[in-house]
């Protein structure tokens, strides 16, 4: 693909709001996970909750969008000056020429879960103040973002579970490459809700401790929430050192709804496709941000695929021990972590992981490392066997 410039990017997670909070946590090896105290949830698990989400107020004209997921969307958009960069891009290109491509797994489903506690005792009806379209629906965060910036062009939500906000980079890149748009707001937002907390618990995929990606004793995920965004534009004239999207690769497992292909075949296809899209070989990659959810099956499958392609030459880590698994936001948040790896020369470690699984022959980073990083790969794989790998680099 033709490289694209990330002219702005930002991430908010349990590590904190914005790039400085994120890079400081990654440098110090801090985790943002804490025992679950979300809403009325009673589960023996740890979560990565973002502070202050429910203090965020939406503009009055967009009040129907009000829900935890759109509060976090707005909070994320107005972090690191990202919103102003989007407004500048709209001034440059026009309202119809900036697209919106956002990933989510559950959008504002929490709003529906809460509304079901307030059904009319006689009729069973949901309360009048519940707005399905602008909160529950998977498109709500993309429509909110489009309306928030007054955009008039294309928009879509991608919902392929935990690969959602990696795949947005590929979809937006296609439309820019074809000249349908000049820039795109890409990213992902997912927020804590009962469906995912009780759902992953029902699958026995949540850990009772902070998650330990790639650890020999790993025993499940810690669910997180977060918002990650990037502004994609054509890279012509990009300043040296700017972060570029170099390639994207997508594949399907065609195997099982909630278990990865045991040899990581789909994961391998996605990584190979991303390298091909970037015109690179495995030897060109300096760091891999793994999907690394910390379930026994995911890390074994992904590790097998990474080892088959890269051997143990490339330093790699999952940052989910720091952020938790932010599900539909994970691809975007980890893309931003990759951008920080490139700009700061920072290879993140893996809070929570003590003993890397000896059965997975990759060069797994327990502690952060500093060094020259030119090209990185980020993996995101989802339920239903939907895989996406992205390659990022820096402008020469």
């Amino acid at each position: 693909m033709t490289p694209l410039l990330l002219s702005a990017f930002t991430a908010t997670s349990c590590l904190g709001r914005g790039l400085d909070a994120t890079r400081h946590a990654l440098r110090s090896g801090r985790s943002g996970l804490a025992p679950c105290a979300f809403e009325t949830v009673k589960l023996d698990t740890w979560v990565g909750e973002v502070a202050g989400v429910d203090d965020e107020r939406l503009p009055t004209a967009l009040a129907d969008y009000d829900c935890r997921n759109n509060r976090l969307t707005r909070l994320g958009l107005e972090t690191d000056g990202f919103g102003n960069q989007v407004r500048d891009a709209i001034d440059r290109y026009g309202r119809a020429r900036v697209g919106v491509f956002l990933g989510t797994s559950t959008a504002g489903i929490l709003q529906t879960e809460l509304a079901y506690r307030r059904r009319d005792p006689a009729t069973g009806a949901l309360p009048d103040d519940f707005h399905y379209r602008t909160t529950h629906n998977s498109f709500s965060l993309a429509e909110f973002t489009r309306d928030y910036f007054g955009l008039e062009g294309m928009a879509m939500a991608i919902s392929t579970a935990c690969s959602s906000s990696a795949k947005v980079f590929a979809a937006a890149a296609r439309q820019i490459e074809l000249g349908m748009i000049d820039a795109a707001v890409v990213g992902g937002v997912d927020t804590l809700c009962l469906t995912t907390l009780y759902g992953f618990a029902s699958l026995q995929l949540t850990s009772p401790r902070p998650c330990r990606p790639y650890d020999a004793a790993r025993d499940g995920i810690s669910i997180g929430e977060g918002a990650g965004f990037a502004l994609l534009e054509r890279a012509a004239g990009a300043a040296p050192g700017s972060v570029l999207l170099l390639g994207a690769g997508e594949s399907s497992d065609a195997y099982h709804m909630s278990s990865p292909h045991p040899e990581g075949l789909g994961a391998r296809l996605a990584m190979e496709a991303a390298l091909k899209s970037a015109g690179l070989t495995p030897a060109d990659i300096d760091y891999i941000n793994l999907h690394g959810t910390a379930t026994p099956a995911n890390d074994a499958a992904e590790g097998t695929a990474v080892a088959a392609l890269f051997g143990d030459r490339v330093p790699c880590s999952s940052t989910k021990g720091a952020t938790g698994h932010t599900l539909g936001a994970a691809g975007a948040i980890e893309a931003v972590i990759c951008a920080l790896a490139l700009t700061d020369g920072l290879l993140p470690g893996s809070p929570g992981t003590a003993t890397p699984d000896p059965a997975i022959p990759v060069q797994y980073l327990l502690e952060r490392r500093e060094g020259r990083v030119r090209r990185v790969l980020s993996n995101s794989f989802g339920f239903g066997g939907s895989n996406c790998s992205l390659v990022f680099g820096v402008a020469a």
Partner: protein, 266 residues
């Protein structure tokens, strides 16, 4: 300037209320057969293993059936196809059951219900059924979902130079969500889009943005289907394909952006 979003349509699949498949819909859209309202008929997905087939939800049945109809129409191999799934929502009945249970004193939801709750459940079952390891997209743009799917599918055709199967589909919610999102029934539309002009080509399609309004269908009942079920926003395009008349139709997308669709002869 001609739009880069163009392809050859090689296969069509359709299920809608009163329109059980594409040949039946084609006859109605050509005016050869009167429209007769009836609930959507959703065939059991023969490709799925028996356990999954029995448990397949209405939304999964809809998506798989229209996808397979388009693949068969084109004589294509489903295991080799890149797919784009576009749906305005996931499985409404499953969503209702989860929300009801999560509002009760017993929140221990079923793991199967949980994994079936994802927006990409139909795409996941499609992969298991067909063995396709090619990229699979799953989009949502509320009422604009068909248009969003068409934009991404044609972009993939243009850049990957490979056939792409677009499957747009919706299912209804039971009450009380139905009152908030009144989709009346399941429906789905599938188009197999090929970058090359092959012997199976049915028509050429080119899509570009416009600000024009979508023209309503002349038949009031068909127009109601178009307006009530997001995937059936494609009906004006399907009517062109049914009659074989080349020309331009406008489809609803995301106000103020609409899609001008030009259908050309082979």
């Amino acid at each position: 300037m001609s739009s880069p979003l163009r392809a050859w349509i090689e296969g069509i699949g359709l299920i809608a209320p009163g329109l059980p498949d594409w040949p039946a819909a084609r006859a109605v859209l050509r005016g050869e057969q009167a429209y007769a309202a009836a609930p959507s008929v959703l065939p059991a997905p023969a490709l799925l293993p028996p356990a999954e087939r029995r448990r397949a939800s209405r939304v999964v049945k809809t998506a798989l059936a229209v996808g397979l109809e388009a693949v068969a129409h084109a004589g294509a191999d489903a295991s080799q196809l890149t797919t784009v799934f576009a749906a305005s929502g996931a499985d409404g009945h499953n969503c209702h059951a989860l929300c009801e249970q999560l509002a009760s004193d017993d929140r221990q939801i079923s793991p199967t219900r949980f994994h079936n709750s994802v927006h990409n459940a139909a795409a996941g079952y499609w992969g298991i059924a067909t063995g396709a390891m090619a990229p699979c997209q799953v989009l949502c743009a509320y009422d604009a979902s068909f248009g969003a799917g068409l934009l991404d599918a044609l972009a993939q055709v243009a850049l990957m130079r490979q056939p792409v199967l677009l499957i747009a589909y919706d299912s209804e919610y039971p009450e009380p969500l139905h009152a908030k999102r009144p989709i009346p029934d399941c429906a789905g539309v599938a188009l197999l889009l090929n970058p090359e002009h092959g012997p199976r080509a049915l028509a050429a399609i080119t899509v570009s943005p416009t600000a024009d309004a979508a023209e309503p269908l002349a038949d009031a009942e068909l127009e109601a289907l178009r307006a009530d079920i997001p995937a059936l926003r494609a009906l004006p395009l399907l009517q062109r394909l049914a009659t074989g008349d080349a020309g331009r139709v406008c489809l609803d997308y995301l106000a103020p952006m609409q899609l001008a669709v030009r259908i050309g002869p082979c």
